[in-house]
Symmetry: C2
Subunit: 83 residues, 2 copies
């Protein structure tokens, strides 16, 4: 079975996010008012074959914990959809 | 009204994605089989105040087109939810 995982890896809420802060400041130059917060992380689209949804979820979890996210400064969440 | 926009900025499908390719290759070292493709982009969470959903959507569109995404090599899509 083929699955698509859409994974977001974001900086922890407690941490400063200098990249997001820079974007927030620069929105003023575009005359865009009303934006109160911007946070920037990574988005990962992963396509995988697995025998079951549980197997696919296990693969995605391991990839997130060991390769995609740094748990000290980042959190991740994902959706998994069978194609 | 307060809105939250969840924006994904991804490399165009036609383009090579060296960062995704590197992750794909390294998944082998974690004994994770079955992953056939990985593409990596940015995820942006934007919190904004706007008078209406249309106004909020206009702000997010402008921010994406002028600041967050490079239309030559990237595409974007987003969801907008009123809080």
């Amino acid at each position: 079975m083929k699955f698509i995982a859409e994974i977001d890896v974001m900086p922890h809420k407690e941490l400063l996010d200098p990249q997001g802060k820079t974007v927030l400041n620069n929105l003023d130059h575009l005359d865009l008012s009303g934006v109160t917060d911007v946070r920037i992380g990574r988005h990962v689209t992963m396509i995988l074959d697995a025998a079951s949804e549980d197997a696919a979820r296990s693969t995605v979890e391991t990839a997130c914990q060991k390769l995609l996210a740094n748990p000290i400064v980042e959190m991740y969440h994902y959706t998994l959809v069978q194609q």
